[in-house]
Protein backbone atom coordinates (compact mmCIF):
# COMPACT_ATOMS: atom_id res chain seq x y z
CA UNK A 1 0.00 0.00 0.00
CA UNK A 2 2.96 2.27 -0.53
CA UNK A 3 1.07 4.32 -3.07
CA UNK A 4 -1.38 5.37 -0.33
CA UNK A 5 1.33 6.04 2.24
CA UNK A 6 2.47 8.94 0.06
CA UNK A 7 -0.45 10.94 1.42
CA UNK A 8 0.80 10.52 4.98
CA UNK A 9 4.10 12.18 4.13
CA UNK A 10 4.34 15.83 5.18
CA UNK A 11 6.77 16.55 2.34
CA UNK A 12 4.10 15.51 -0.14
CA UNK A 13 1.72 18.17 1.17
CA UNK A 14 4.49 20.72 1.22
CA UNK A 15 5.23 19.97 -2.44
CA UNK A 16 1.54 20.12 -3.34
CA UNK A 17 1.22 23.62 -1.86
CA UNK A 18 4.46 24.74 -3.49
CA UNK A 19 3.35 23.51 -6.91
CA UNK A 20 -0.07 25.11 -6.39
CA UNK A 21 1.28 28.57 -5.53
CA UNK A 22 1.85 29.95 -9.07
CA UNK A 23 -1.49 28.45 -10.09
CA UNK A 24 -3.25 30.30 -7.25
CA UNK A 25 -1.86 33.63 -8.46
CA UNK A 26 -2.67 32.85 -12.08
CA UNK A 27 -6.17 31.57 -11.43
CA UNK A 28 -7.04 34.57 -9.27
CA UNK A 29 -5.80 36.83 -12.07
CA UNK A 30 -7.75 35.02 -14.77
CA UNK A 31 -10.82 35.02 -12.54
CA UNK A 32 -10.74 38.80 -12.03
CA UNK A 33 -10.43 39.40 -15.79
CA UNK A 34 -13.25 37.03 -16.59
CA UNK A 35 -15.47 38.33 -13.82
CA UNK A 36 -15.25 41.67 -15.65
CA UNK A 37 -16.26 39.93 -18.89
CA UNK A 38 -12.89 39.54 -20.62
CA UNK A 39 -11.07 36.27 -21.22
CA UNK A 40 -7.32 36.84 -20.91
CA UNK A 41 -5.40 34.24 -22.91
CA UNK A 42 -2.36 36.47 -22.59
CA UNK A 43 -1.79 34.61 -19.30
CA UNK A 44 0.92 32.23 -20.52
CA UNK A 45 2.96 35.14 -21.91
CA UNK A 46 2.30 37.32 -18.87
CA UNK A 47 3.60 34.47 -16.69
CA UNK A 48 6.79 34.39 -18.78
CA UNK A 49 7.18 38.17 -18.72
CA UNK A 50 6.59 38.24 -14.96
CA UNK A 51 9.08 35.42 -14.41
CA UNK A 52 11.73 37.19 -16.49
CA UNK A 53 11.20 40.77 -15.32
CA UNK A 54 10.90 39.95 -11.61
CA UNK A 55 14.03 37.84 -11.68
CA UNK A 56 15.97 40.35 -13.73
CA UNK A 57 14.99 43.24 -11.45
CA UNK A 58 16.37 41.31 -8.49
CA UNK A 59 19.50 40.45 -10.41
CA UNK A 60 19.98 44.13 -11.28
CA UNK A 61 19.78 44.97 -7.60
CA UNK A 62 16.17 45.99 -7.02
CA UNK A 63 15.74 43.54 -4.14
CA UNK A 64 13.00 40.96 -3.80
CA UNK A 65 10.26 43.53 -3.15
CA UNK A 66 11.45 45.51 -6.16
CA UNK A 67 11.32 42.33 -8.21
CA UNK A 68 7.72 41.65 -7.24
CA UNK A 69 6.77 45.25 -7.99
CA UNK A 70 8.51 45.13 -11.38
CA UNK A 71 6.71 41.92 -12.30
CA UNK A 72 3.37 43.43 -11.31
CA UNK A 73 4.00 46.57 -13.35
CA UNK A 74 5.04 44.55 -16.40
CA UNK A 75 1.93 42.40 -15.97
CA UNK A 76 -0.29 45.48 -15.67
CA UNK A 77 1.19 47.01 -18.84
CA UNK A 78 0.55 43.82 -20.81
CA UNK A 79 -2.94 43.76 -19.29
CA UNK A 80 -3.46 47.32 -20.48
CA UNK A 81 -2.52 46.25 -24.00
CA UNK A 82 -4.97 43.35 -23.90
CA UNK A 83 -7.58 45.68 -22.39
CA UNK A 84 -7.24 48.30 -25.13
CA UNK A 85 -7.49 45.64 -27.83
CA UNK A 86 -10.52 43.90 -26.38
CA UNK A 87 -12.51 46.60 -24.57
CA UNK A 88 -12.73 49.89 -26.52
CA UNK A 89 -11.69 48.24 -29.80
CA UNK A 90 -13.83 45.17 -29.09
CA UNK A 91 -11.51 42.76 -30.92
CA UNK A 92 -11.71 39.00 -30.55
CA UNK A 93 -10.62 38.19 -27.00
CA UNK A 94 -9.19 34.85 -28.10
CA UNK A 95 -7.06 36.27 -30.88
CA UNK A 96 -5.70 39.25 -28.98
CA UNK A 97 -5.04 37.06 -25.94
CA UNK A 98 -2.94 34.64 -27.99
CA UNK A 99 -1.25 37.67 -29.56
CA UNK A 100 -0.37 39.06 -26.13
CA UNK A 101 1.04 35.67 -25.12
CA UNK A 102 3.25 35.53 -28.20
CA UNK A 103 4.38 39.14 -27.86
CA UNK A 104 5.07 38.88 -24.12
CA UNK A 105 6.98 35.61 -24.51
CA UNK A 106 9.14 36.99 -27.30
CA UNK A 107 9.72 40.30 -25.54
CA UNK A 108 10.77 38.49 -22.37
CA UNK A 109 13.25 36.45 -24.31
CA UNK A 110 14.47 39.42 -26.35
CA UNK A 111 15.12 41.43 -23.20
CA UNK A 112 16.84 38.49 -21.59
CA UNK A 113 19.16 37.86 -24.53
CA UNK A 114 20.04 41.51 -25.16
CA UNK A 115 20.84 41.99 -21.48
CA UNK A 116 22.79 38.74 -21.17
CA UNK A 117 24.20 37.95 -24.62
CA UNK A 118 27.05 35.66 -23.58
CA UNK A 119 26.01 33.63 -20.59
CA UNK A 120 26.43 29.87 -20.52
CA UNK A 121 24.01 29.44 -17.67
CA UNK A 122 21.68 32.13 -16.35
CA UNK A 123 22.91 34.04 -13.29
CA UNK A 124 21.36 33.05 -9.97
CA UNK A 125 19.69 35.40 -7.51
CA UNK A 126 19.07 35.20 -3.77
CA UNK A 127 15.52 33.88 -4.00
CA UNK A 128 12.80 33.90 -1.34
CA UNK A 129 13.66 31.33 1.33
CA UNK A 130 11.12 29.32 3.34
CA UNK A 131 10.09 31.31 6.40
CA UNK A 132 10.80 29.97 9.84
CA UNK A 133 7.69 30.79 11.85
CA UNK A 134 8.16 30.38 15.61
CA UNK A 135 6.34 27.33 17.07
CA UNK A 136 4.23 26.70 13.93
CA UNK A 137 7.15 25.65 11.70
CA UNK A 138 8.26 23.13 14.32
CA UNK A 139 4.91 21.38 14.67
CA UNK A 140 5.00 17.72 13.69
CA UNK A 141 3.48 17.07 10.26
CA UNK A 142 1.66 20.42 10.01
CA UNK A 143 4.92 22.35 10.37
CA UNK A 144 6.62 21.05 7.22
CA UNK A 145 3.33 20.76 5.35
CA UNK A 146 1.91 24.22 6.01
CA UNK A 147 4.40 26.47 7.77
CA UNK A 148 7.69 26.07 5.91
CA UNK A 149 6.84 28.01 2.80
CA UNK A 150 8.14 31.18 1.23
CA UNK A 151 6.56 34.59 1.64
CA UNK A 152 4.99 34.32 -1.81
CA UNK A 153 2.95 31.24 -0.89
CA UNK A 154 1.42 33.04 2.10
CA UNK A 155 0.83 36.08 -0.12
CA UNK A 156 -1.07 33.85 -2.57
CA UNK A 157 -3.30 32.44 0.18
CA UNK A 158 -3.86 35.92 1.61
CA UNK A 159 -4.82 37.26 -1.82
CA UNK A 160 -7.46 34.55 -2.22
CA UNK A 161 -9.36 36.00 0.70
CA UNK A 162 -8.72 39.61 -0.32
CA UNK A 163 -10.06 38.98 -3.82
CA UNK A 164 -13.03 37.05 -2.45
CA UNK A 165 -13.84 39.88 -0.06
CA UNK A 166 -13.43 42.62 -2.66
CA UNK A 167 -15.61 40.84 -5.19
CA UNK A 168 -18.30 39.92 -2.70
CA UNK A 169 -18.50 42.75 -0.21
CA UNK A 170 -17.29 46.01 -1.72
CA UNK A 171 -18.92 48.46 -4.15
CA UNK A 172 -15.93 48.00 -6.46
CA UNK A 173 -16.48 44.24 -6.47
CA UNK A 174 -20.15 44.72 -7.23
CA UNK A 175 -19.25 47.00 -10.14
CA UNK A 176 -16.73 44.44 -11.50
CA UNK A 177 -19.25 41.63 -11.26
CA UNK A 178 -21.92 43.80 -12.87
CA UNK A 179 -19.67 44.78 -15.76
CA UNK A 180 -19.14 41.10 -16.48
CA UNK A 181 -22.83 40.25 -16.27
CA UNK A 182 -24.64 43.25 -17.65
CA UNK A 183 -22.42 46.13 -18.75
CA UNK A 184 -25.34 48.33 -19.82
CA UNK A 185 -26.64 48.41 -16.25
CA UNK A 186 -23.25 49.70 -15.10
CA UNK A 187 -23.29 52.32 -17.84
CA UNK A 188 -26.77 53.47 -16.81
CA UNK A 189 -25.40 54.03 -13.30
CA UNK A 190 -22.96 56.53 -14.78
CA UNK A 191 -19.89 54.37 -14.35
CA UNK A 192 -17.37 53.71 -17.12
CA UNK A 193 -17.58 50.17 -18.47
CA UNK A 194 -14.27 50.64 -20.27
CA UNK A 195 -12.41 51.86 -17.18
CA UNK A 196 -13.78 49.06 -15.01
CA UNK A 197 -12.99 46.35 -17.52
CA UNK A 198 -9.50 47.63 -18.34
CA UNK A 199 -8.77 48.16 -14.66
CA UNK A 200 -9.85 44.60 -13.85
CA UNK A 201 -7.70 43.19 -16.66
CA UNK A 202 -4.68 45.17 -15.45
CA UNK A 203 -5.16 44.03 -11.87
CA UNK A 204 -5.68 40.42 -12.97
CA UNK A 205 -2.64 40.52 -15.24
CA UNK A 206 -0.40 41.80 -12.47
CA UNK A 207 -1.45 38.79 -10.37
CA UNK A 208 -0.64 36.49 -13.30
CA UNK A 209 2.81 38.09 -13.49
CA UNK A 210 3.28 37.30 -9.78
CA UNK A 211 2.56 33.65 -10.63
CA UNK A 212 5.42 33.76 -13.11
CA UNK A 213 7.65 35.61 -10.67
CA UNK A 214 7.10 32.82 -8.11
CA UNK A 215 8.81 30.41 -10.51
CA UNK A 216 12.01 32.45 -10.80
CA UNK A 217 12.05 34.10 -7.37
CA UNK A 218 10.89 31.36 -5.01
CA UNK A 219 10.52 27.93 -6.66
CA UNK A 220 13.80 28.49 -8.47
CA UNK A 221 16.41 31.22 -8.57
CA UNK A 222 17.02 31.78 -12.28
CA UNK A 223 15.07 32.37 -15.46
CA UNK A 224 15.00 29.76 -18.18
CA UNK A 225 13.20 30.23 -21.42
CA UNK A 226 10.17 27.96 -21.60
CA UNK A 227 10.09 27.28 -17.88
CA UNK A 228 6.46 28.44 -17.55
CA UNK A 229 5.68 25.31 -19.54
CA UNK A 230 1.89 25.57 -19.82
CA UNK A 231 1.14 26.63 -16.25
CA UNK A 232 -0.79 29.65 -17.54
CA UNK A 233 -3.14 27.49 -19.57
CA UNK A 234 -3.82 25.33 -16.52
CA UNK A 235 -5.08 28.48 -14.76
CA UNK A 236 -7.61 29.13 -17.53
CA UNK A 237 -9.04 25.64 -16.95
CA UNK A 238 -8.92 26.08 -13.17
CA UNK A 239 -10.98 29.26 -13.49
CA UNK A 240 -13.82 27.29 -15.05
CA UNK A 241 -13.33 24.55 -12.46
CA UNK A 242 -13.69 27.20 -9.76
CA UNK A 243 -16.90 28.59 -11.28
CA UNK A 244 -15.22 32.02 -11.07
CA UNK A 245 -15.06 31.87 -7.25
CA UNK A 246 -11.76 32.67 -5.49
CA UNK A 247 -12.04 30.07 -2.70
CA UNK A 248 -12.87 27.33 -5.18
CA UNK A 249 -9.91 28.53 -7.26
CA UNK A 250 -7.70 27.90 -4.24
CA UNK A 251 -9.17 24.44 -3.90
CA UNK A 252 -8.68 23.69 -7.60
CA UNK A 253 -5.06 24.87 -7.56
CA UNK A 254 -4.33 22.77 -4.47
CA UNK A 255 -5.97 19.76 -6.08
CA UNK A 256 -3.83 20.16 -9.17
CA UNK A 257 -0.71 20.67 -7.06
CA UNK A 258 -1.54 17.47 -5.18
CA UNK A 259 -2.03 15.52 -8.43
CA UNK A 260 1.30 16.76 -9.68
CA UNK A 261 3.15 16.05 -6.43
CA UNK A 262 1.52 12.63 -6.34
CA UNK A 263 2.53 11.74 -9.88
CA UNK A 264 6.25 12.44 -9.37
CA UNK A 265 6.16 10.21 -6.29
CA UNK A 266 4.10 7.50 -7.92
CA UNK A 267 6.56 7.38 -10.82
CA UNK A 268 9.30 6.10 -8.55
CA UNK A 269 6.85 3.78 -6.77
CA UNK A 270 5.46 1.80 -9.69
CA UNK A 271 7.52 3.27 -12.54
CA UNK A 272 9.09 -0.09 -13.38
CA UNK A 273 5.86 -1.56 -14.73
CA UNK A 274 3.80 1.48 -15.77
CA UNK A 275 5.22 3.80 -18.46
CA UNK A 276 6.22 7.22 -17.14
CA UNK A 277 4.05 9.03 -19.67
CA UNK A 278 0.93 7.73 -17.93
CA UNK A 279 1.88 9.65 -14.80
CA UNK A 280 2.69 12.79 -16.71
CA UNK A 281 -0.79 12.68 -18.22
CA UNK A 282 -2.48 11.99 -14.92
CA UNK A 283 -2.82 15.55 -13.54
CA UNK A 284 -4.29 16.75 -16.81
CA UNK A 285 -6.71 13.84 -17.15
CA UNK A 286 -7.82 14.27 -13.55
CA UNK A 287 -8.29 18.00 -14.22
CA UNK A 288 -10.46 17.28 -17.24
CA UNK A 289 -12.55 14.82 -15.25
CA UNK A 290 -12.94 17.34 -12.44
CA UNK A 291 -13.86 19.98 -14.99
CA UNK A 292 -16.56 17.77 -16.49
CA UNK A 293 -18.07 17.13 -13.09
CA UNK A 294 -17.91 20.71 -11.82
CA UNK A 295 -18.22 22.92 -14.86
CA UNK A 296 -21.59 21.60 -16.01
CA UNK A 297 -23.28 23.59 -13.32
CA UNK A 298 -20.87 26.54 -13.56
CA UNK A 299 -22.43 29.95 -13.28
CA UNK A 300 -20.39 31.89 -15.79
CA UNK A 301 -20.33 35.71 -16.13
CA UNK A 302 -23.16 36.44 -18.58
CA UNK A 303 -21.24 39.02 -20.61
CA UNK A 304 -18.01 36.98 -20.84
CA UNK A 305 -16.52 37.25 -24.34
CA UNK A 306 -19.15 39.85 -25.36
CA UNK A 307 -17.69 43.23 -26.31
CA UNK A 308 -19.72 46.26 -25.21
CA UNK A 309 -19.96 49.54 -27.10
CA UNK A 310 -21.46 52.69 -25.63
CA UNK A 311 -24.85 53.59 -27.08
CA UNK A 312 -25.23 50.31 -28.92
CA UNK A 313 -28.32 48.23 -28.28
Amino acid sequence: MEFLEIFLNENFWQAAIRIATPLIFGTLGALICERAGVLNLGIEGIFTAGAMSGWMAVWLGAGLAGGLLTAMIVGAILGLLHGILTVPLGLSQHVSGIGVTMLATSLAYFTYRTTLPDVTSPPRIEAFQPLDIPVLSDLPFLGPALFQHTFMTYLAFFLVFVVAWVLKSTPLGLAIRAVGDNPSSVDSQGMSVYALRIGAIMAGSSLMALGGAFLTMAAFDAFFFGMVNGRGWICIALTVFASWKPRKALLGALLFGAFEAYQVRLQTEVGSFVPGEVFLMAPYILSIVALIIVARSADYPRALLVPWFKGER
Partner: protein, 329 residues
Protein backbone atom coordinates in the same frame (compact mmCIF):
# COMPACT_ATOMS: atom_id res chain seq x y z
CA UNK B 1 10.92 33.31 -32.11
CA UNK B 2 14.32 32.61 -33.58
CA UNK B 3 16.87 35.29 -33.12
CA UNK B 4 19.43 35.96 -35.79
CA UNK B 5 22.78 37.31 -34.84
CA UNK B 6 23.78 38.15 -38.36
CA UNK B 7 21.81 40.24 -40.80
CA UNK B 8 19.32 38.44 -42.94
CA UNK B 9 19.82 38.36 -46.65
CA UNK B 10 16.43 38.52 -48.30
CA UNK B 11 15.82 36.61 -51.46
CA UNK B 12 15.68 39.79 -53.54
CA UNK B 13 18.98 41.26 -52.37
CA UNK B 14 20.56 37.87 -52.74
CA UNK B 15 19.44 37.60 -56.35
CA UNK B 16 20.47 41.15 -57.14
CA UNK B 17 23.79 40.67 -55.41
CA UNK B 18 24.71 37.45 -57.13
CA UNK B 19 23.61 38.78 -60.51
CA UNK B 20 25.77 41.87 -60.32
CA UNK B 21 28.94 40.14 -59.19
CA UNK B 22 28.39 36.86 -60.98
CA UNK B 23 31.13 37.48 -63.49
CA UNK B 24 33.64 38.51 -60.87
CA UNK B 25 32.94 36.26 -57.94
CA UNK B 26 29.75 35.05 -56.43
CA UNK B 27 31.40 34.60 -53.07
CA UNK B 28 30.85 37.10 -50.27
CA UNK B 29 33.92 38.80 -48.85
CA UNK B 30 34.29 36.71 -45.68
CA UNK B 31 34.62 33.51 -47.66
CA UNK B 32 38.11 34.52 -48.73
CA UNK B 33 39.65 34.14 -45.30
CA UNK B 34 37.54 32.22 -42.81
CA UNK B 35 35.38 29.19 -43.33
CA UNK B 36 31.76 30.22 -42.82
CA UNK B 37 30.01 28.01 -40.28
CA UNK B 38 26.40 28.35 -39.17
CA UNK B 39 24.74 26.59 -36.27
CA UNK B 40 21.01 26.13 -35.79
CA UNK B 41 19.75 25.29 -32.32
CA UNK B 42 16.22 24.45 -31.23
CA UNK B 43 16.81 25.79 -27.71
CA UNK B 44 18.66 28.76 -26.23
CA UNK B 45 22.43 28.46 -25.97
CA UNK B 46 22.13 28.20 -22.17
CA UNK B 47 20.85 24.66 -22.56
CA UNK B 48 23.66 22.32 -21.49
CA UNK B 49 23.80 20.18 -24.63
CA UNK B 50 23.63 23.09 -27.04
CA UNK B 51 25.96 25.14 -24.89
CA UNK B 52 28.72 22.59 -25.48
CA UNK B 53 28.43 22.91 -29.27
CA UNK B 54 28.19 26.68 -29.03
CA UNK B 55 31.31 26.82 -26.87
CA UNK B 56 33.32 24.61 -29.24
CA UNK B 57 32.33 26.67 -32.27
CA UNK B 58 33.12 29.93 -30.51
CA UNK B 59 36.56 28.58 -29.68
CA UNK B 60 37.31 27.12 -33.12
CA UNK B 61 40.00 28.90 -35.12
CA UNK B 62 39.74 30.06 -38.71
CA UNK B 63 35.97 30.09 -38.98
CA UNK B 64 33.34 32.82 -39.23
CA UNK B 65 30.64 31.54 -36.89
CA UNK B 66 27.02 32.65 -36.78
CA UNK B 67 24.03 30.98 -35.18
CA UNK B 68 20.28 30.96 -34.74
CA UNK B 69 18.96 29.77 -31.40
CA UNK B 70 15.53 28.75 -30.22
CA UNK B 71 14.45 27.79 -33.75
CA UNK B 72 11.25 25.77 -33.59
CA UNK B 73 11.26 22.34 -35.22
CA UNK B 74 8.66 23.48 -37.74
CA UNK B 75 10.97 26.28 -38.80
CA UNK B 76 14.15 24.26 -38.82
CA UNK B 77 14.26 23.33 -42.50
CA UNK B 78 13.66 26.93 -43.58
CA UNK B 79 16.56 28.20 -41.50
CA UNK B 80 18.80 25.43 -42.86
CA UNK B 81 17.89 26.42 -46.40
CA UNK B 82 18.49 30.09 -45.67
CA UNK B 83 22.00 29.42 -44.46
CA UNK B 84 22.68 27.07 -47.36
CA UNK B 85 21.45 29.66 -49.88
CA UNK B 86 23.62 32.24 -48.21
CA UNK B 87 26.72 30.25 -49.05
CA UNK B 88 27.59 28.86 -45.63
CA UNK B 89 30.09 25.99 -45.98
CA UNK B 90 29.29 24.00 -42.84
CA UNK B 91 25.99 23.77 -41.01
CA UNK B 92 26.00 22.38 -37.47
CA UNK B 93 22.80 21.57 -35.62
CA UNK B 94 20.49 18.89 -34.31
CA UNK B 95 18.23 16.70 -36.41
CA UNK B 96 16.55 14.76 -33.61
CA UNK B 97 13.04 16.04 -34.22
CA UNK B 98 13.49 16.88 -37.91
CA UNK B 99 15.37 13.85 -39.23
CA UNK B 100 13.47 13.52 -42.49
CA UNK B 101 13.34 17.24 -43.30
CA UNK B 102 16.98 17.87 -42.44
CA UNK B 103 18.10 14.99 -44.65
CA UNK B 104 16.01 16.35 -47.49
CA UNK B 105 17.61 19.78 -47.18
CA UNK B 106 21.06 18.17 -47.08
CA UNK B 107 20.31 16.31 -50.31
CA UNK B 108 19.26 19.59 -51.96
CA UNK B 109 22.57 21.25 -51.08
CA UNK B 110 25.20 18.55 -51.63
CA UNK B 111 28.02 21.12 -51.57
CA UNK B 112 27.20 22.28 -48.06
CA UNK B 113 28.69 20.15 -45.32
CA UNK B 114 26.13 19.18 -42.68
CA UNK B 115 27.04 18.02 -39.18
CA UNK B 116 23.93 17.31 -37.18
CA UNK B 117 23.16 15.65 -33.90
CA UNK B 118 21.12 12.57 -34.72
CA UNK B 119 20.07 9.22 -33.34
CA UNK B 120 20.41 7.71 -36.82
CA UNK B 121 23.30 7.13 -39.24
CA UNK B 122 25.07 9.41 -41.74
CA UNK B 123 23.74 9.81 -45.27
CA UNK B 124 25.88 10.34 -48.38
CA UNK B 125 27.12 12.65 -49.72
CA UNK B 126 27.13 15.39 -47.06
CA UNK B 127 24.99 14.48 -44.03
CA UNK B 128 27.27 13.65 -41.10
CA UNK B 129 26.01 12.92 -37.62
CA UNK B 130 27.28 13.26 -34.07
CA UNK B 131 25.89 12.64 -30.61
CA UNK B 132 26.87 13.07 -26.99
CA UNK B 133 28.55 9.70 -26.53
CA UNK B 134 29.79 10.40 -23.03
CA UNK B 135 28.70 7.07 -21.61
CA UNK B 136 32.32 6.43 -20.67
CA UNK B 137 32.69 9.34 -18.24
CA UNK B 138 29.12 8.61 -17.08
CA UNK B 139 30.25 5.09 -16.14
CA UNK B 140 33.10 6.64 -14.18
CA UNK B 141 30.80 9.01 -12.28
CA UNK B 142 28.69 5.93 -11.53
CA UNK B 143 31.71 4.41 -9.77
CA UNK B 144 32.00 7.55 -7.63
CA UNK B 145 28.28 7.53 -6.78
CA UNK B 146 28.17 3.80 -6.07
CA UNK B 147 31.10 4.12 -3.67
CA UNK B 148 29.73 7.18 -1.91
CA UNK B 149 26.06 6.31 -1.31
CA UNK B 150 25.13 5.40 2.27
CA UNK B 151 21.43 4.73 1.74
CA UNK B 152 22.12 2.69 -1.40
CA UNK B 153 19.42 4.67 -3.20
CA UNK B 154 20.35 6.93 -6.11
CA UNK B 155 17.79 9.22 -7.74
CA UNK B 156 17.85 10.06 -11.44
CA UNK B 157 15.74 12.80 -13.04
CA UNK B 158 15.80 12.94 -16.83
CA UNK B 159 14.23 15.14 -19.49
CA UNK B 160 12.84 12.77 -22.09
CA UNK B 161 13.54 9.04 -22.33
CA UNK B 162 15.45 9.26 -25.62
CA UNK B 163 18.62 7.32 -26.55
CA UNK B 164 20.91 10.30 -25.80
CA UNK B 165 19.65 10.41 -22.21
CA UNK B 166 19.08 6.68 -21.69
CA UNK B 167 22.57 5.58 -22.66
CA UNK B 168 24.19 7.93 -20.16
CA UNK B 169 21.84 6.79 -17.41
CA UNK B 170 22.51 3.11 -18.16
CA UNK B 171 26.26 3.68 -18.20
CA UNK B 172 26.00 5.52 -14.88
CA UNK B 173 23.92 2.68 -13.40
CA UNK B 174 26.42 0.09 -14.69
CA UNK B 175 29.27 2.06 -13.15
CA UNK B 176 27.56 2.29 -9.77
CA UNK B 177 26.62 -1.41 -9.75
CA UNK B 178 30.19 -2.39 -10.65
CA UNK B 179 31.38 -1.20 -7.24
CA UNK B 180 28.18 -1.62 -5.22
CA UNK B 181 25.71 -4.28 -6.38
CA UNK B 182 23.19 -3.28 -3.68
CA UNK B 183 22.41 0.15 -5.11
CA UNK B 184 18.79 0.76 -6.10
CA UNK B 185 17.79 3.45 -8.58
CA UNK B 186 14.79 5.77 -8.75
CA UNK B 187 14.14 7.06 -12.26
CA UNK B 188 11.70 9.72 -13.44
CA UNK B 189 11.36 11.74 -16.60
CA UNK B 190 9.75 15.19 -16.57
CA UNK B 191 9.05 15.32 -20.32
CA UNK B 192 10.52 18.77 -20.71
CA UNK B 193 14.07 19.95 -21.37
CA UNK B 194 13.55 23.15 -19.55
CA UNK B 195 11.38 23.16 -16.45
CA UNK B 196 13.77 23.56 -13.50
CA UNK B 197 11.00 23.93 -10.88
CA UNK B 198 9.50 20.61 -12.02
CA UNK B 199 12.88 18.86 -12.10
CA UNK B 200 13.45 20.19 -8.59
CA UNK B 201 10.11 18.80 -7.37
CA UNK B 202 10.93 15.38 -8.85
CA UNK B 203 14.29 15.44 -7.11
CA UNK B 204 12.68 16.41 -3.78
CA UNK B 205 10.34 13.44 -4.12
CA UNK B 206 13.32 11.10 -4.57
CA UNK B 207 15.25 12.58 -1.66
CA UNK B 208 12.11 12.08 0.46
CA UNK B 209 12.28 8.42 -0.54
CA UNK B 210 15.81 8.14 0.73
CA UNK B 211 18.03 8.95 -2.23
CA UNK B 212 21.29 10.43 -1.00
CA UNK B 213 22.82 11.00 -4.44
CA UNK B 214 21.03 12.67 -7.31
CA UNK B 215 22.05 12.16 -10.93
CA UNK B 216 21.48 15.66 -12.32
CA UNK B 217 20.50 15.31 -15.94
CA UNK B 218 18.45 18.56 -15.85
CA UNK B 219 18.77 22.00 -14.32
CA UNK B 220 16.99 22.01 -10.95
CA UNK B 221 18.13 18.64 -9.63
CA UNK B 222 21.37 19.91 -8.09
CA UNK B 223 19.36 22.72 -6.49
CA UNK B 224 17.17 20.19 -4.70
CA UNK B 225 20.28 18.25 -3.64
CA UNK B 226 21.88 21.39 -2.24
CA UNK B 227 18.70 22.45 -0.40
CA UNK B 228 18.34 19.03 1.27
CA UNK B 229 22.06 18.52 1.87
CA UNK B 230 22.58 15.46 -0.33
CA UNK B 231 25.10 15.00 -3.15
CA UNK B 232 24.69 15.27 -6.89
CA UNK B 233 26.42 14.00 -10.02
CA UNK B 234 26.79 16.50 -12.85
CA UNK B 235 26.24 15.75 -16.48
CA UNK B 236 27.49 17.33 -19.74
CA UNK B 237 28.57 20.64 -18.16
CA UNK B 238 30.55 21.56 -15.05
CA UNK B 239 28.24 23.26 -12.56
CA UNK B 240 30.32 22.55 -9.46
CA UNK B 241 31.03 26.24 -8.88
CA UNK B 242 27.28 26.97 -8.59
CA UNK B 243 26.73 24.30 -5.95
CA UNK B 244 29.78 24.25 -3.66
CA UNK B 245 30.06 21.03 -1.69
CA UNK B 246 27.24 19.32 -3.57
CA UNK B 247 28.60 18.00 -6.87
CA UNK B 248 30.67 14.86 -6.28
CA UNK B 249 31.70 14.34 -9.87
CA UNK B 250 30.62 15.29 -13.37
CA UNK B 251 30.76 13.64 -16.77
CA UNK B 252 31.72 16.42 -19.16
CA UNK B 253 31.10 16.50 -22.87
CA UNK B 254 33.66 18.20 -25.10
CA UNK B 255 32.42 19.05 -28.54
CA UNK B 256 35.78 20.48 -29.68
CA UNK B 257 37.23 17.28 -31.21
CA UNK B 258 34.03 16.73 -33.24
CA UNK B 259 33.81 20.31 -34.45
CA UNK B 260 37.50 20.59 -35.22
CA UNK B 261 37.56 17.31 -37.15
CA UNK B 262 34.63 18.49 -39.29
CA UNK B 263 36.16 21.93 -39.90
CA UNK B 264 39.47 20.33 -40.93
CA UNK B 265 37.66 18.01 -43.33
CA UNK B 266 35.70 20.84 -44.93
CA UNK B 267 38.82 22.96 -45.31
CA UNK B 268 40.71 20.06 -46.87
CA UNK B 269 37.80 19.36 -49.18
CA UNK B 270 37.52 15.83 -47.83
CA UNK B 271 34.22 16.16 -45.91
CA UNK B 272 31.96 13.15 -46.48
CA UNK B 273 28.99 11.65 -44.71
CA UNK B 274 30.45 10.11 -41.57
CA UNK B 275 29.50 9.25 -38.04
CA UNK B 276 31.38 11.74 -35.87
CA UNK B 277 29.97 10.15 -32.69
CA UNK B 278 33.36 8.54 -32.05
CA UNK B 279 34.88 11.99 -31.44
CA UNK B 280 32.84 12.25 -28.23
CA UNK B 281 34.63 9.19 -26.82
CA UNK B 282 37.29 9.66 -24.15
CA UNK B 283 39.96 8.35 -26.51
CA UNK B 284 39.46 11.43 -28.69
CA UNK B 285 39.11 13.81 -25.76
CA UNK B 286 35.37 14.19 -26.34
CA UNK B 287 34.47 13.23 -22.81
CA UNK B 288 36.12 13.59 -19.44
CA UNK B 289 35.33 13.05 -15.81
CA UNK B 290 36.04 15.61 -13.11
CA UNK B 291 35.51 15.27 -9.39
CA UNK B 292 35.60 17.31 -6.25
CA UNK B 293 38.77 16.26 -4.45
CA UNK B 294 37.35 17.43 -1.13
CA UNK B 295 34.34 15.09 -1.45
CA UNK B 296 35.74 12.04 -3.22
CA UNK B 297 38.15 9.87 -1.18
CA UNK B 298 41.57 9.18 -2.67
CA UNK B 299 41.01 5.42 -3.08
CA UNK B 300 37.83 6.02 -5.10
CA UNK B 301 39.62 8.61 -7.22
CA UNK B 302 42.41 6.11 -7.86
CA UNK B 303 39.87 3.47 -8.86
CA UNK B 304 38.25 5.90 -11.31
CA UNK B 305 41.59 6.86 -12.79
CA UNK B 306 42.56 3.22 -13.28
CA UNK B 307 39.27 2.55 -15.06
CA UNK B 308 39.72 5.68 -17.15
CA UNK B 309 43.06 4.36 -18.36
CA UNK B 310 41.50 1.04 -19.32
CA UNK B 311 38.79 2.84 -21.28
CA UNK B 312 41.24 5.04 -23.13
CA UNK B 313 43.63 2.23 -24.07
CA UNK B 314 40.71 0.07 -25.13
CA UNK B 315 40.97 -2.77 -22.61
CA UNK B 316 37.57 -1.89 -21.12
CA UNK B 317 34.47 -0.99 -23.12
CA UNK B 318 31.41 0.69 -21.65
CA UNK B 319 28.27 -0.81 -23.13
CA UNK B 320 25.91 1.48 -25.06
CA UNK B 321 22.33 0.73 -23.97
CA UNK B 322 19.68 3.00 -25.49
CA UNK B 323 16.63 1.40 -23.82
CA UNK B 324 14.58 3.33 -21.27
CA UNK B 325 15.88 2.89 -17.72
CA UNK B 326 13.34 2.09 -15.00
CA UNK B 327 13.25 2.38 -11.23
CA UNK B 328 14.60 -0.59 -9.35
CA UNK B 329 13.84 0.52 -5.81
Amino acid sequence: MEKKISMDITRRTLLAGTASVATVSALPAWAASDLSVAAIYTLPVEQQWIGRIHKALNAANGIAYEYSENVSNTDYERVMREYAEKGVKLIVGEAFSVERGARKVAADYPDVAMLLGSSFGPEAPNFSVFDNFIHEPSYLTGIVAGSDTKSNIIGMVGGFAIPEVNRLMHAFIAGALSVNPDVKFLVTFINSWYDPPKAKESAFAMIDKGADIMYAERFGVSDAARDRGVKAIGNVIDTAADYPGTILASAIWHMEPTVNAAIEAVKAGSFTAEDYGIYSYMKHGGGSVIFDDALVPADVAAMVEAKEKEIIDGTFTVEVDDSEPVSTA
